[in-house]
């Protein structure tokens, strides 16, 4: 009898497990379908469209191509000389997404990088929503509140904004899934081995999608654990061995990339944006972004982060009012209190090192403490807001699932969701792939032999798209936009800035000739794209440098070295060109010095002191040899 009873229990458990699996699978299908419905291209599915705006999506498409290409050609995965040739650059600090590029390499080879990239982008919000739904379901055991939490997180302002350009930052499903695993491990008393393996593999996957998100997950996860330990919550100490094992598993799995990141730390960390420029303004929380349906376009000029893809802090007044109400009425519930504190912490840290109001810095902010520390400075504060969204989604789910009549609560949450709903005309941005015929993989390309070194002018970041669509047929000399930063040693030439600002009129012709010869440029391709006059200026410059037209098509002109082109310069000549005082650097020094001198004058005026002795001291000990008296304040 007990044996039969045990068997019946086992069957019931299995039935409930399968039922739950079916339910969660159905919810996943619904979330993914919603993503496809919201973001499907308005002109129908076409293979020559990519999801997003600008040139950032091409970075991800390039990396999707790079992994199978490197593997099939026995090239290193984390170093390439296909951009910034012939020196090359490390890819360890770039957004290379090895989790995707390696696991999806067969699909990329079969369908192309653009198709795989589009699929990943369209699945990102649905998967993020599903992760938050699972975490909320684990907390509340209620379907409707968990679905609402999923919708709030998966279609938050953060997700909508990042979906415009940044695949690695939009694909954040691993963050709520990590929370779900920890909650489940606590509730079901998982063994440390089970928790360590599942969480460790998930964290390693996230590391391979976005190192930055992985690092911030560790920081906010540690803050959450520390708070729980301080509150002496039951079950927390039980999961610590599992979490420690997870970190160890993750470190082991990600060791090859981490090692490369340590080796290339200096150049990599220099290429990360400033935390000041990528932090949230106080008003970002209440001013709709251009992606928002309600009032988005009206308030667009007030947004501080000019890049729409980084404007993810808009919660809206209705949602903020609801959150304040939840805090006031339900903060006695430990889970709501904890979620509220985490949301507050993430919101506070997202302000960056200084508090800005309408773009003006008005105070120091807590991130100032760590914004200059090694590695931590690579975490960009504006993106911390994703954790605030996750905490808010959990708060809303707990509130909706709390005892008492819920219809009014759902009505209030519906208003909040309407306030943050996306404007499809802005959020659903598809861009056509525009490649000159000479770069297309199907063309015969008689004038550009395979593995040539090429310089493409004028350039606005699109050179890597030409390289990808050609099937990686050529190397890009001193160019190839895979992220911020200027590649060395090219940037040491003082023509570098002008060359890639398309300011060809101010380039010294002997220096340009030497630059092309020094790096063995085989061909220069002048693309007839925007801005049109830049193409003409580049042609004039090349002809003056002794280069001749090899082939001309309506979309592009290919130049090769003519008989009068300069021979490769000597090392001494290259050194001389690199050490020429750059007008840009001189102007920057003058600007910076003017700022310092004017600040001293202002402070002296403010406290009614004579500025002359202070300036004398400054001139004697800190000032470069510029005449202080001649610096005029108030001139930009």
């Amino acid at each position: 009898m007990p044996k039969a009873c045990h068997s019946h229990d086992k069957r019931t458990k299995k039935f409930l497990f399968l039922k739950g699996l079916g339910l969660h699978g159905l919810i996943l299908f619904c979330f993914l379908s919603l993503g496809v419905f919201l973001y499907a291209p308005p002109v129908g599915w076409q293979h020559d469209l990519y999801f997003g705006q600008g040139w950032d999506p091409w970075i991800y498409i390039w990396f999707l191509h790079w992994a199978p290409f490197a593997l099939s050609h026995n090239l290193p995965l984390f170093y390439t000389d296909y951009v910034a040739a012939p020196v090359g650059e490390s890819l360890a600090w770039r957004t290379g997404m090895p989790s995707f590029t390696l696991s999806l390499a067969p699909l990329t080879t079969a369908f192309g990088g653009v198709a795989v990239y589009n699929c990943l982008m369209l699945s990102a919000p649905g998967l993020a929503a599903w992760g938050a739904y699972l975490a909320a379901y684990q907390l509340t055991s209620r379907l409707a509140p968990s679905v609402v939490a999923g919708l709030i997180f998966g279609y938050s302002s953060y997700e909508l904004a990042q979906l415009l350009s940044h695949l690695n930052l939009a694909f954040v499903a691993a963050v709520p899934l990590a929370l779900w695993i920890c909650l489940r491990a606590t509730a079901n008393a998982w063994t440390p081995l089970r928790l360590g393996l599942s969480l460790g593999v998930l964290l390693a996957f996230e590391f391979g999608v976005a190192q930055e998100v992985f690092a911030t997950t560790i920081v906010f996860g540690a803050a959450l654990l520390a708070t729980l330990i301080a509150q002496r919550r039951p079950g927390v100490m039980d999961i610590l061995p599992g979490v420690a094992l997870a970190i160890a598993v993750c470190v082991l799995l990600t060791a090859p990339i981490t090692w490369q990141m340590i080796i290339w730390y200096k150049s990599g960390a220099d290429s990360v944006s400033s935390p000041i420029s990528l932090s949230n303004d106080v008003l970002d929380f209440i001013i709709p972004t251009p992606v928002t349906l309600a009032g988005g376009r009206l308030f667009a000029p007030f947004a501080r982060n000019r890049d729409i893809a980084e404007q993810g802090a808009y919660f809206g007044l209705p949602l903020l009012a609801v959150l304040i109400h939840i805090w006031r009425t339900h903060r006695s519930m430990p889970a709501i209190r904890l979620a509220g504190l985490m949301a507050l912490l993430a919101g506070l840290l997202s302000l960056g090192p200084y508090v800005h109001v309408l773009g003006v810095a008005v105070s120091t902010a807590p991130w100032l403490l760590v914004s200059n520390l090694p590695f931590l400075k690579a975490m960009l504060p504006a993106r911390f807001i994703m954790y605030a969204w996750l905490a808010v989604a959990m708060m809303i789910a707990l509130w909706l699932a709390a005892p008492g009549p819920a219809s009014r609560r759902y009505l209030a949450v519906a208003c909040c969701v309407l306030a943050i709903a996306p404007d499809r005309n802005v959020a659903r941005r598809w861009t056509p792939v525009s490649i000159p015929e000479i770069f297309a993989a199907s063309s015969d390309k008689p004038t550009i032999p395979r593995d040539s070194r090429i310089l493409i002018l004028p350039e606005q970041g699109e050179a890597i798209s030409y390289q990808v669509m050609s099937g990686m047929d050529f190397r890009l000399v001193g160019q190839g936009y895979l992220g911020n930063g200027q590649p060395r040693p090219f940037s040491r030439w003082h023509l570098y800035q002008s060359l890639f600002d398309n300011d060809f009129a101010h380039i010294d012709i002997p220096e340009f000739s030497a630059y092309l010869a020094a790096y063995g440029v085989d061909y220069v391709v002048v693309v007839q794209a925007l801005p049109p006059l830049a193409g003409d200026a580049a042609t004039t410059l090349l002809q003056a440098a002794g280069w001749e037209v090899a082939t001309a098509t309506p979309q592009a002109t290919i130049f090769r070295p003519g008989p009068t082109a300069a021979p490769p310069p000597t090392a001494a000549e290259i050194n001389a060109f690199m050490n020429m005082p750059s007008p840009v650097r001189v102007a920057k020094t003058i600007r910076s010095e003017t700022d310092w001198v004017c600040t001293i004058r202002k402070i002296a005026g403010f406290v009614h002191l004579d500025a002359a002795p202070l300036l004398h001291q400054y001139e004697a000990y800190a000032h470069p040899p510029l005449p202080v008296a001649d610096l005029i304040c108030g001139r930009s």
Binding site: Y354, A361, S363
Partner: protein
Amino acid sequence: MNPTVLIIVALLSAAGVLRDARRHAVPAPFLWTTAVFLFWIVALPAYVWRTRHAKESRKQGLLF
């Protein structure tokens, strides 16, 4: 505002708060000092309000 000026203002405010907190035996003076340096715009008004409130309470305690 120039970040350097902000840091100078925050440092001066934090030093002032530390001095005041020690003089008036305010609990957790270093916590207040750190808070004022790191989040000047919120922590300084909060400190002023808190100490003023405490002083008023003390006065009322003496009176009644």
